[in-house]
């Protein structure tokens, strides 16, 4: 190693010179790795902070304060004629039953103002629940049942400890007298936090204690199915045509540039387009997942086309040559060999597009999916809302109890996304082939 | 060599050059061997003849070296076309030169024997030897320069050697008929002349090889030849 060819003018040989720089090089490498680690940790930290804050906020929404009351389904009030006719039963004043039960529980409340407060402790929707019970089981009329009824949002918020007693009475919605009742109920075990099944099974409501996410979930599901059914075949076909069949000339260049541009167009513009074309011109139903899906299909189409083209480009040309070489037509080459190989990439692109569509809010506002809809949609033509819009709606609501519901809705949205991504991974693994 | 451009792989060129220099050295060596042998015959100098006999080992060693180099080139370079012909030709030329050297050696051996019998004047022998010497020199030049014209000229000159051999044959025949005591010397001289004539043939072989090497084609079969001595005998008797 000390031979002349390896020596520079100063007499040091290559090995020494390399040695001298080695420390610096390794240090640079270590620094680079540390930067990478730091950025990943930062990103994960933010994500964890976001998720914990949402989960911390939203966790409460999975529980709901319920009050147990002895409800007398008085025959005189509900079914004065004794006919048992469901139409008559439906007409009954169930709110009065709750009022009676509360008056029975707290006999010393007499003033009108206090009575109104006392009655306000139970959700306004509780009457509907009782009506439903009677409709399901008419024989309970005339009996007394111990029933857990949802408390109103204000009580719920207090019970979950989100409002402190130390705040001056004038600055909180729940007054001292109500706190007294709550404590009284708690002491006898008649007030409890129970798992909030209603949140997962019912639609939206003005009353936070009974508002549920299921309507939005179904709306999202319908919307995504429509989007997938439209965007995937269209996108794949377009990509295959552009990549495998279209001649490379100015026109296809133009189309390509436009597709790339479309991918960058703000989604609200697509919403306006949907409003103008689908609603105003074709008169499709407003607020329907059908239209939402069509608009979202337009938004995801460029993403799918671009991803599919990339996947097609990644298929080694040798496979095409092999197929053409044995005399397959171009169509056979594509359907037998190229598409199966490009499918994992296409699916990945599609799922990314769908995840994007799932989170899209703005364009749906334009076509009326922001409406307040209580019913669970049963078809893509029913008015519906979607998860992100639901989040937006609840985030905008005044009631304190909606705060935690907003977070819970976000959690559901994230769970939905994770499921979709899992599905994508499974599909990709199934379709993936080595070559 | 004949090719103006050089190989991309320089060491290949160097090996080919080395091959040429070996052939050149062999050529020079056999030339001096021939010269020395003939001088030993003419000057009746058995001592210098001994030197020539021993010198043949050098020629053989060179031939072995050429053979080894050719095998190496064939194995490692996979020569094609002109290179292939060049390398194969070198092997053939080396073989010819080795035979050439063998003839010089047998001449030298006979020079020792002939120095013990009465001198017989054989002026043609010297001329013949010079001619063959010139031929071998020219044909090796032709080889080294890739000059086919020169090679063809050498190839044609062999006829003269044959003619000289014929006349020498007749001359020696006459001496033997004149005086039977000359027979031993004349017989030796006849063999020496035959050796020289064979050397001429090797020179023409080399000329043919050079032609094949450069042009890739054979020279025509009808080489101009002098009279065959066997017919001379028939003539002499008849």
């Amino acid at each position: 190693m000390t031979e002349s060819i390896l020596q520079d003018r100063t007499g040091r040989n290559t090995a020494d010179r390399v040695q001298a720089g080695l420390k610096r090089r390794y240090a640079a490498e270590r620094r680079f790795r540390i930067y990478g680690l730091i950025s990943i940790l930062t990103a994960m930290g933010f994500l964890a902070a976001l998720l914990t804050s949402i989960a911390g906020n939203g966790y409460g929404a999975f529980l709901q304060t319920h009050v147990r009351l002895d409800i007398l389904f008085s025959k005189a009030d509900l079914d004065p004629g004794g006919t048992g006719d469901p139409a008559v039963l439906r007409q009954g004043d169930y709110d009065a039953l709750i009022k009676d039960a509360l008056a029975h529980r707290f006999p010393d409340v007499t003033s009108r103002a206090d009575k109104r407060k006392l009655n306000g402790m139970i959700s306004a929707s509780a009457g509907f629940d009782l009506a439903q019970m009677v409709a399901d089981e008419p024989e309970i009329v005339g009996t007394t049942q111990r029933i857990w009824l949802p408390a109103t949002g204000d009580i719920d918020v207090f019970v979950k400890g989100n409002v402190s007693e130390k705040v001056p009475e004038t600055e909180r919605r729940i007054k001292d007298v109500e706190i007294g009742w709550v404590k009284a109920l708690q002491s006898t075990g008649d007030l409890e936090l129970k798992f909030n099944t209603r949140f997962f099974t019912s639609g939206d409501s003005r009353n936070p204690e009974v508002a549920g996410i299921w309507g939005a979930v179904v709306g999202s599901l319908f919307t995504l199915i429509i989007t997938l059914a439209l965007a995937f075949p269209l996108g794949v076909m377009a990509a295959v045509y552009l990549e495998e069949f279209a001649p490379k000339n100015r026109w296809t260049d133009l189309v390509e540039v436009n597709i790339n541009n479309l991918a960058a167009v703000p989604s609200i513009v697509f919403g306006l387009l949907g409003l103008a074309v689908f609603l105003n011109f074709f008169h499709l139903p407003r607020s329907a997942p059908l239209v939402g899906g069509m608009v979202l299909a337009l938004i995801t189409l460029p993403t799918i086309i671009i991803a599919s083209r990339a996947a097609l480009k990644a298929v080694p040309p040798s496979i095409r040559e092999a197929a053409l070489g044995v005399g397959a037509s171009r169509m056979q080459t594509v359907t037998h060999h190229v598409l199966p190989l490009a499918m994992p990439g296409m699916l990945t692109g599609t799922i990314i597009g769908m995840a994007h569509a799932l989170g899209e809010t703005a364009p749906l506002l334009m076509i009326g999916m922001v409406a307040f809809i209580v019913d669970i949609p049963t078809s893509p033509l029913d008015p519906a809302t979607v998860l992100p819009v639901q989040v937006y709606l609840w985030a905008d609501s005044a009631e304190r109890a909606f705060v935690e519901r907003t977070s819970a809705a976000i959690l559901v949205l994230i769970a939905f996304l994770i499921c979709m991504n899992l599905l994508a991974i499974i599909l990709r693994k199934r379709f993936e082939r080595r070559w | 060599m004949a090719n103006p451009s050089e190989h991309i792989v320089k060491s290949y060129d160097e090996e080919l050059k080395h091959l040429n220099s070996l052939i050149g050295r062999m050529g020079g060596l056999v030339e001096t061997q021939l010269d020395g042998a003939i001088q030993a015959v003419l000057r009746r100098a058995p001592e210098s003849a001994e030197v020539i006999v021993k010198g043949d080992a050098q020629v053989d060693a060179l031939e072995t070296e050429v053979g080894a180099l050719v095998v190496r080139l064939l194995a490692l370079r996979q020569p094609m076309a002109v290179d292939l012909r060049h390398i194969v030709s070198a092997l053939k030329i080396a073989a010819d030169l080795e035979r050439f050297g063998d003839h010089a050696k047998s001449i030298a051996k006979r020079a020792i024997a002939i120095s013990q019998v009465p001198r017989i004047p054989a002026p043609g022998l010297d001329r013949m030897a010079r001619m063959v010497q010139a031929m071998i020199k020219d044909v090796l030049d032709a080889y080294l320069e890739g000059d086919t014209n020169k090679a063809v000229k050498v190839w044609r000159r062999d006829a003269e050697v044959d003619q000289l051999y014929n006349s020498l044959f007749r001359e020696l025949l006459t001496y033997m008929m004149e005086d039977p005591r000359n027979i031993t010397g004349c017989a030796h001289l006849l063999f020496i002349a035959k050796n020289v004539e064979r050397m001429g043939d090797h020179a023409t072989n080399i000329a043919e090889t050079v032609h094949y090497q450069v042009k890739g084609t054979k020279l025509p079969d009808d080489r101009p030849k002098g009279d065959d001595p066997s017919f001379t005998i028939a003539e002499g008797q008849g």
Partner: protein, 279 residues
Amino acid sequence: MTRHLELKTAVMDKKTEDRSEAALGNIPSTKISARNVNVFYGDKQALMDVNLDVNAREVTALIGPSGCGKSTFLRCLNRMNDVIDICRVSGEIVLDGRDIYDRSIDVVQLRALVGMVFQKPNPFPKSIFENVAYGPRIHGLANNGEELDEIVMSSLERAGLLNEVKDRLAEPGTGLSGGQQQRLCIARAIAVSPEVILMDEPCSALDPIATARIEELIDELRANFTIVIVTHSMQQAARVSQRTAFFHLGSLVEVGDTVDIFTNPSDKRTQDYITGRFG
């Protein structure tokens, strides 16, 4: 399909003719005849006035430095260049008396007659069986499963691969070694029973033993197929071919018997190329 059959029978007649001719005089018959072939990639001319005859049941090697147009010429023979938009071919290439660039010739039909083996072994990411069965299947060469099995087996046999893979026909073709993959590709090509097999540097990715096997295979296939092979290895061209064509800068410089080309080429450019004097 009917057209395909027509051509096929026409070709068969020609074949029997060829055979008798060969038996009589041992004169090689011309299988493919290229006349004044020019190829342009956009404005760039890749081939200039190439005139080349390929003899039936012979191996013709195309040699030359990279970018000399030998692969381009090879790809003209089964119109593989059609796939490239900017590629334009003029002149005529006659296969068994019919111009393959004529409108009456369908390119799919042509490729069934002129098979191709590529530089990099490119089996489909499917099973070994499916790889070979694909061609016969798309061309409808087998009437039932048994016939298809037979075609696959005999193709693998002829490609010298059957013994190595007969127990694992269902395994992916991509799991074979490089040389086996290339022989699988050859089996795939001959399964369609083409007239001509084009090989584009079939051994460039293989080790010498695998190469030797392919070369032996080429030599065997010569009895039934006309083979045109592009190779970068002059030794390979010398070993496998009967005729060699030397391309340089888009022109066909010299074509002749392989023995002549490699011992005494007539053109100086050929000489310089095969002796390693320019790159």
